[in-house]
C-alpha cells in the first residue's frame, strides 16, 4: 500500500504535470527548431508568436461562446484553434514578406536574423497586449477532470490523490497527433522532403529544382500552427497571460538547444527533459521517502534545489549538455 502511495505521489506531482508541460514545451521547441533548421536563425519571437496566436484564438472562442456554440465536453477553444492558426500564419507570412525576406535575399549572417527576430519580438509583444490586454485570462470550458483527486481517493482508498485534468489529457493527445502529422509530412510528402533537403543543404536543394519560396512559406505555416497550438494548449491547461508567454521562450530555447537545434526529434526529447528536470530536481522527495522507508525519520525535505531555481535547472542542463555535446543530445546543426 505504501509503495502504491509512493507511486501515486510521484505520478500526481511529477509524472502527470511534467508530461503535460513537456508536451507544451516540445511543441514550442519544435517551432524554434524548424525555423532554425530551415530559415537558419533562432527565433527570439517564438514566445510572443505563441501569445499572439493564443490571443486570437481566445477572441474567436469568445465569439463562438457568445453565439452559443460549444464543443460538448471539450473546450470551445479547440474549435477556434483553426482560426487562430490561420490568422497567426497570415501574420507570420506578412512578417516574412516585410521583414525577413530581405535578409534572405542579401544572405545576411544568421546572427543578424537573430537580431531582427528580437525586433519582431518587441513588436509582437506590444501588438498582443494592445489586442487583448495584459490580464490573466482563463478560457477553458467543458469538463474539468478526467480523474479528480477526491474521486480517485474514494475509488482506490489510497491516502495519496491522483488527478488528471481533461486539459492535460487533451494537451498530450493533441500534441501527439500534431507531432505524428508533422513527422508524416516531413517523411512522406513531396513538400516535406524538399524541406528536409533544403535544411540539409540549401545550395544543393536549389540546384535540384526546389522552390525556396515555397519551402519558406510552408515552414512559416507549420511554425505558426505549432506555436498557436502550443500556446492554446498551454493557456487551456494553465491560463493566458501575455507576460508568461514572453517568459516561456526561456525553457523553450533550453529544450530546443538541449535536443539539438534543427533536429525535430531532439526538440521533443528536449521538451520533456527540461520539463521533467524542472519538476523532479525541485521536488521535495520527503513524502515519497516516507512511504518507501517508513522507519527513516528526517526533518529534511530531501529537495535538491529550492523551487526558486526552477529556471536555473533547465539552463544548467543546457550548459552541461553544450559542454559535452556542443550541438545538443541529438546532434543539431550549427551555422
Amino acid at each position: 500500500m505504501d509503495i502504491l502511495n509512493a507511486i501515486v505521489a510521484i505520478l500526481n506531482y511529477v509524472i502527470v504535470p511534467a508530461t503535460t508541460y513537456g508536451a507544451q514545451l516540445a511543441l514550442g521547441a519544435l517551432g524554434v527548431t524548424l525555423i532554425y533548421g530551415i530559415l537558419r536563425f533562432s527565433n527570439f519571437a517564438q514566445g510572443d508568436t505563441m501569445a499572439f496566436g493564443t490571443a486570437i484564438t481566445i477572441m474567436v472562442t469568445w465569439g463562438l461562446q457568445s453565439l452559443g456554440i460549444g464543443f460538448g465536453p471539450l473546450p470551445t477553444a479547440l474549435l477556434a484553434l483553426p482560426f487562430g492558426i490561420a490568422i497567426t500564419c497570415a501574420l507570420l507570412l506578412g512578417t516574412d514578406r516585410v521583414v525577413y525576406r530581405y535578409y534572405r535575399t542579401v544572405r545576411a549572417a544568421p546572427v543578424i536574423l537573430v537580431m531582427v527576430s528580437v525586433g519582431v519580438m518587441f513588436l509582437m509583444n506590444g501588438i498582443t497586449r494592445i489586442l487583448i490586454g495584459v490580464d490573466e485570462i482563463k478560457f477553458a470550458d467543458g469538463a474539468r477532470f478526467l480523474i479528480s483527486a477526491s474521486e480517485f481517493k474514494s475509488w482506490t482508498g489510497l491516502t495519496e490523490p491522483l488527478a488528471i485534468r481533461s486539459t492535460q489529457a487533451i494537451t498530450v493527445i493533441v500534441a501527439g497527433l500534431l507531432v505524428w502529422a508533422l513527422f508524416w509530412f516531413l517523411a512522406k510528402t513531396r513538400t516535406g522532403k524538399s524541406m528536409r533537403a533544403y535544411a540539409d543543404n540549401e545550395d544543393l536543394a536549389l540546384l535540384s529544382g526546389i522552390n525556396p519560396d515555397r519551402v519558406v512559406t510552408v515552414t512559416w505555416i507549420i511554425a505558426g500552427a505549432l506555436a498557436t497550438t502550443a500556446g492554446v494548449l498551454y493557456g487551456l491547461d494553465k491560463s493566458f497571460k501575455a507576460f508568461s508567454y514572453f517568459q516561456l521562450v526561456l525553457p523553450i530555447f533550453a529544450a530546443a538547444v538541449v535536443g539539438g537545434l534543427g533536429n525535430p526529434l531532439g526538440a521533443i526529447a528536449g521538451g520533456f527533459i527540461v520539463a521533467y528536470s524542472e519538476v523532479a530536481v525541485t521536488y521535495a522527495w520527503k513524502k515519497v521517502a516516507g512511504y518507501l522507508f517508513p522507519s527513516w525519520d528526517t526533518d529534511s525535505l530531501l529537495q535538491l534545489l529550492s523551487t526558486d531555481y526552477k529556471f536555473a535547472v533547465s539552463f544548467t542542463i543546457l550548459i552541461i549538455v553544450l559542454l559535452f555535446k556542443p550541438t545538443g543530445l541529438f546532434k543539431g546543426k550549427a551555422y
Binding site: 495584459v134 490580464d135 490573466e136 491522483l162 488527478a163 508567454y245 529537495q303 529550492s306
Partner: protein
C-alpha cells in the same frame, strides 16, 4: 523622429492648456511589468475619488482634480524615478498616489519625492522597511505593514486548530516580507512550518512548486501571493492535484477573482484583509461597479482612499502645497469627527470647509498609525458556499 517630436510638442502645448487652478494628482503605479493586471483597477479607484471631488465642486472653491497617470513599472527603480520626477517637475502635480511595489516606492521617495517635498500615499507598498524610512512626514500608506498581518494570521490559524502549515509566497518584497513575519510569529506561538517556498509571478508553470509543497505537507497552505497572479496558479495546482484542501489567504489573495475563479472549491478556507467594520467597503464596491470596474480588485479601495486622503487634507489645510497639507493627513484619517465613508467625499469637503473635524474611513476603514501607515485592523474572512464572508474583525 521628426514627427514624434512634433507630436510631443503638440502634446505639451495641449497639456499646458489645462486650467492653472486645477489640482493635479499623480498616479504612479505599474501599468506595465509583473503586476500590470492590478494597475487598471487601482488607477480607476483613485480616479473615482478624484471625480467625486471634482463633481462636488467643493474642493477649495471649486477646483477640478486632474489625474496624471504614470507607469512606475513596479520593478524598475530607474523608470519609476523618472516617472515621478516628470510628475513633480513638469506636470507639477500636487500629490501622488503611489508607488505600487515597495522597492520602486522607496526609490522614488528617496530620490524625488522627499527632496522635492512631495506627498506620496501608497495604496499597496507593505514592506516593513517603509516604516522606518526617514520620510520627513511626506509618506503615508493606506495598506498595513506586513509585520502586523503576520500576527493576525497566526492567531487566526491557531484558532482554527491548525498547528502545521506549508507556506508559499510571491517572490517579491511583499510576499517575502509577509512570509517572514508570519513564519516568525507562527513559530513563536508553537506552530510548525513544513516548508517556505517562493513562487514567481507570471511564470508559466507551478507544478514544481505545488509538488514541493504537497510533499512537505501540512494541515493548510498559506498563500502569500496575489489572486490575479502566481497565487492563483499555486491555488489552482494545489486544488487540482488534491494536495491541500484548506488554504489561508492574506490580503493579496482575497479579491473578486477568488470567488469568481475558485468559488466553492475553496470552501472552508479562510483569510484576512486589511479592513474594518462598516459601510465604506460596500459603498465603494457598488460605486465601482457603477463606474465599470471591480471594486474588489486588489488594492482598488486603498487607491481610492489614498487619493481621497490627499484631497481632503488639502481642503483641511486650505492649500494644495504638499509641505502644508502633509500635516493634516493623520488628523483626517484618525478623527475625531464625523465618519466619512467612500462616496461621502462631498460631505467631508463641506465639513472641513466649515472648519469641522472629520474621521475619514473611506473604502478600507482607514486608520493611520505610527509614521503614517494603516493601523492593521483586519477583517477575517471565510469562504462559505463559494462566497467570501466576513467572520469578524481583528
Amino acid at each position: 523622429m521628426k514627427n514624434l517630436l512634433l507630436a510631443s510638442t503638440a502634446v505639451l502645448l495641449a497639456a499646458g492648456a489645462a486650467n492653472a487652478a486645477d489640482v493635479k494628482i499623480g498616479i504612479s503605479i505599474g501599468f506595465t511589468g509583473p503586476l500590470e493586471s492590478m494597475a487598471p483597477d487601482m488607477a480607476k479607484g483613485a480616479e473615482m475619488a478624484m471625480k467625486e471631488v471634482s463633481d462636488s465642486g467643493k474642493l477649495l472653491g471649486g477646483d477640478k482634480v486632474i489625474s496624471v497617470r504614470g507607469d512606475s513599472t513596479c520593478i524598475d527603480a530607474a523608470a519609476a524615478t523618472a516617472t515621478v520626477t516628470k510628475m513633480i517637475t513638469s506636470e507639477k502635480v500636487d500629490g501622488i498616489v503611489g508607488g505600487e511595489c515597495s522597492g520602486e516606492t522607496i526609490a522614488s521617495l528617496n530620490n524625488v519625492a522627499i527632496p522635492n517635498g512631495m506627498v506620496m500615499i501608497s495604496p499597496s507598498a507593505t514592506s516593513p522597511a517603509l516604516t522606518t524610512i526617514d520620510d520627513k512626514g511626506l509618506f503615508f500608506r493606506t495598506a498595513p505593514s506586513d509585520a502586523r498581518q503576520g500576527e493576525v494570521m497566526t492567531d487566526e490559524i491557531l484558532e482554527h486548530g491548525i498547528k502545521s502549515v506549508a507556506v508559499t509566497y510571491t517572490n517579491n518584497d511583499y510576499g517575502k516580507g509577509l512570509a517572514d513575519s508570519f513564519v516568525e510569529a507562527f513559530k513563536k506561538k508553537g506552530g510548525t512550518v513544513t516548508i517556505t517556498a517562493a513562487h514567481d509571478d507570471g511564470k508559466p508553470d507551478y507544478s514544481a512548486e505545488v509538488g514541493a509543497l504537497a510533499s512537505a505537507g501540512g494541515q493548510a497552505l498559506v498563500i502569500a501571493g496575489y489572486v490575479d497572479q502566481g497565487g492563483a496558479g499555486i491555488l489552482r495546482g494545489a486544488l487540482d492535484t488534491g494536495a491541500f484542501s484548506t488554504f489561508v489567504f492574506p490580503d493579496g489573495m482575497v479579491g473578486g477573482s477568488l470567488e469568481k475563479n475558485f468559488g466553492k472549491e475553496v470552501n472552508g478556507s479562510f483569510g484576512q484583509v486589511p479592513s474594518s467594520e462598516g459601510e465604506g467597503h460596500d459603498k465603494f464596491v457598488a460605486a465601482a461597479k457603477a463606474a465599470g470596474f471591480d471594486g474588489n480588485g486588489t488594492y482598488a479601495g486603498e487607491s481610492y482612499d489614498a487619493a481621497a486622503l490627499i484631497l481632503l487634507a488639502m481642503q483641511a489645510a486650505k492649500s494644495t502645497d504638499p509641505k502644508v497639507y502633509k500635516d493634516k493627513v493623520m488628523e483626517i484619517a484618525n478623527g475625531p469627527g464625523e465618519k466619512i465613508y467612500a462616496g461621502d467625499l462631498a460631505k467631508g469637503l463641506e465639513l472641513l470647509a466649515a472648519g469641522k473635524p472629520i474621521d475619514y474611513e473611506g473604502a478600507t476603514a482607514v486608520h493611520l498609525i505610527g509614521p503614517g501607515e494603516a493601523s492593521g485592523s483586519f477583517r477575517e474572512i471565510a469562504i462559505k458556499d463559494g462566497k467570501i464572508e466576513t467572520v469578524k474583525f481583528r
